[in-house]
Amino acid sequence: MQDLKLPDIDYGALAPMLILLGAACLGVLFEALLPKARRHGFQLGLALLATVAALVTVIIERNTRIVTIGGAVAIDGPTLFLQGSILMLGLVSLLLIGERTVEAGGAFVSQAAVTVGSQKDLRQAGSQPGATEVYPLTIFSLGGMLLFVSANDLLTMFVALEVLSLPLYLLCALARRRRLLSQEAALKYFLLGSYASAFFLFGVALLYGYSGGVDLAAIHNAVADPNRSEVLLYAGLALVAIGLLFKSAAAPFHVWTPDVYQGAPTPITALMAACTKVAAFGALLRVLYVAFEGVRWDFQPVLGVIAILTMLIGAVLAVTQTDMKRLLAYSSIANAGYLLVGVLALNKEGLASTMFYLVAYGFSVLAAFGIVSLVRDAEGEATHLSRWAGLGRKSPLLAGVFSFILLAFAGIPLTSGFTSKFAVFGAAIDGGQTWLVIVGVITSMVLAFPYLRVIVMMWLQEPGESTPTVSIPGFLTSAALAIGVIATFALGVIPAPLLDLTNDAAQFVR
């Protein structure tokens, strides 16, 4: 009998994930053991501390290039960069999640299980502080994301996908206001997410059949061998890609995005738009660049069509949206298209510019949703576009900041929106994907319309009777907004340091 050989484990390299998942478990214990009144402070503190600690370990490990635990996890340049990005964006998201002064008790409901509309529900909507389970859930989700971008075999990737998704499904259902919409969004997200996971898993099975292994290096080696079933390869590749494109919100797998973004509590929408996007594209980059590099010319046209479709659908549908959160959701879909353009450059610049784009977009979108959470009336957030008319007269500072963020989304120079679009489009042209860039530029112009319309509404229209008041942001939201805006401006004016960093990091290990 052969001795069972234990795989080597580099705990240092895995430390960020271990810290987050451990902190999440601790958070569950807090939830059970601490008195209710003190939970919020402890949980928020723990979550922030864990995120910062994980970020510090990522920075300490910045030069690690290793494949560990028997090939399940690869810690390399892209992994560390993306993990760092997820942690930084997650930190800002946590600030938004932790805000409790804008709305009494925070954006989350106290007991999600109470029937919507019942007496008990009305009572808890009024004053009871929100559930503190959101913090361990968020940390679990962030931990899953860290694993997702570092997973070096498809099964680990699948586990990570579920670890990051399940808490998100729950979080989506926890909105304090408009609970039915929130629960509907969560259910839709859960059903469609499971559906997409099934595709992913089926794809993994086919690829196992094709290559005899699930780790990316094995698939890479199998691709080089011509005597295998190509049907298995391409069907498997297609199905795995579908699972990842679902999370990235690429057309036609984007259908969940507007409903979920609109229904979820705004801080969770921000978390999904910023962090989940990084994780999804991180995994997509790794799978395509590491495992399927050998068939790049075959998947490029198909994914190119998907990118075009995504940009078109995101941009065109954004034009007629009347709800701010749905507008931002379609904008996020279009941005997924631009990210795909960067991915499909399939060169080192493509990898680097996509990573840059993810960070730049993440900060801007966090700031955008942070502002959405501030514009409110007695019913909660006033997200209908018509309610934003004349906001510039009533709160010029907030409207000015939001205009700046919208200009960044539109890709105006001196904002990160310009530098990041420039980077991915430049990489795509170098990679010979001019057709994608042409569509990208055209859809950017279309997309500028809804953004500018909001700016025009805010500044050039008289405030109406129904223009909501803007809440004074608490310290946490102010900090999140400041970080988002400063990052958007700084990456637009001096993008070079981050671009250099992404360039240095743009090398996968296999």
Partner: protein, 641 residues
Amino acid sequence: MEQTVEYAHATGLLSGIWLLVAIPLASATVLLLLGKRADKWGHWLGVLAVAATFVLGLSMFLSLRGLEAEARSAQQSLWDFITVGGLKVDFGLLFDPLSGVFVLLITGVGSLIHLYAVGYMEHDPGRRKFFAYFNLFVAAMLLLVLGNNYVMLYFGWEGVGLASYLLISFWYTRPSAATAGKKAFLMNRVGDAGLAIGIFLMFATLGTTQYDGVFNGVSTLSGGTVLVMGILLLLGAAGKSGQFPLQAWLPDAMEGPTPVSALIHAATMVTAGVYLIARSHAIFTANETLQTVVVTVGAITLLMGCIIGAAKDDIKRVLAWSTVSQIGYMFLGVGLGGAAYALAIIHLLAHGFFKANMFLGAGSVMHGMHDQVDIRRFGGLSKYMKWTWLTFMTGWLAIIGIPPLSGFFSKEPIIVAAFEREGWTAWLYGLAALLGAGLTAFYMTRLFVLTFHGPKRWTEDIHEPHESPLIMTVPLMLLAVGSIAAGWLMSTSVPDWLEPVFRQEEAEATPVLAHWLLTTLSIVVTLLGAGLAWALFRNGTAEQEQPAGVLVRAARRNLYTDAFNEAVFERPGIYLTRALVYLDNRGIDGVVNGLAATVGGSSGRLRRLQSGFVRSYALSMLTGAVLVVGAFLAIQLGWLA
């Protein structure tokens, strides 16, 4: 023999060239930023800044004089201004004999006019702002003459244009001043565009815009390129200096305060065109056709200015047309080339003194006469404004060229030089210059006699015109000294001084008539013109405009040049704009609106697919998945390929 241009590196005192630009600029900045807080003392800071610049400029001039003739230049590169691809432009300065005399003129005459303006603008609430703009002008003008490459020159060029625009429309509440400012701005744009394209051409053909690089490289260019480059530079020069065909803005620019007219639109800025051509002498002497074009422009302008000036009744406009005409003489000089370059510069400097003198004198008259500008309503002022009268007289005698005042030493040699051209062109340009001298004598005498002598024709509200305060008359006296003595002082020293710049051998050519004959002739013509005017206007003139012959009517309407501009440029421009607006509304907007409607419509239709039902979402995902898998397999199995 091929001469190469080299500039020495700035050392010692000369390494502070940048201060010449920085001091007035700093003063302007302080005055603009401090706003009302500087109202009480701002004008004195303005005067002080220019006076300090003058002292500094003078000491630099003297230290340059202490050097060997061939080593008289100091170049200083402060920082890289523009570095893009092959284009490298220094923020560099050059102090050589040519820029040296300009620095003295600008800061010297500038100091006197600044001093005068303290009195002139005393009752104006915007005095501090006025001095800020005035300092800004001085800084820009000094940058213009001190730059060591064409881009620096262009920088200063636009700076003086800006200051000129701000100062012409200084009393912007008057519609006429605002319009005049706009007119100056627009006509200057035409010239500036020419200059800019000329500089582009230099970079395209020579790869540099540095003076030394350009001048040394001119000989490698084809004749056609040099011609085009020169014409473009000439266009710029004509725009800034109010030369034909871009002269129309200069007389209107007199809407600005009188010190502005004296400093910017008589003594300094309008001579920037002459500076440009003199500085670019390597380009202009390289092509004979080019020189002929310059001479022609100068001759046409000098006659035109005289003729129109003789028919005008506004004291400042007569002086303005006289400026146009005198700069025409300078263009004639720089166009003739050779030794005449130095002559043109002498005339420029002399003109700076006597024209500034007369403008300030006119301002003094207006100051005492309730801002009246119509010379038909003056008369007999010599008894009331002794100092103004005396100093104006020196200016008048100087400009018409009575020996031994400065105009005689500066203008007469240009007339002689015009007669030195070859063949029939000597007669053409020589006689034009001679005729100009007679006409100048006529209209300047008319101006002088109608203003200071003859019967009083004042408006009813004036009883006892008063002489201006000392702060205004002292600069007048100093300028009068300059008007008397400058020509004689400069007639031999300046050509020697400028020799290292122009490096022209003494002209061998002889005029078609003997030198002494020409001198006598020009004095006779001058006396004839002056005498005729004296005889005609000794007893005053009608107080209203009288019917007149064809020529006078044409001259009153600026020889129909404004009408020409309106018919040829303005109206077609307006029609073109209207046509473009129509095309924009109907054509381009139609396409854009159509596209927008298409996007909006398809957005509305696509939106219906987002039904909110999970089942339809799942179905669309499934369809997508089937298509994606199908596409992969199709490509791979060659069904599509």
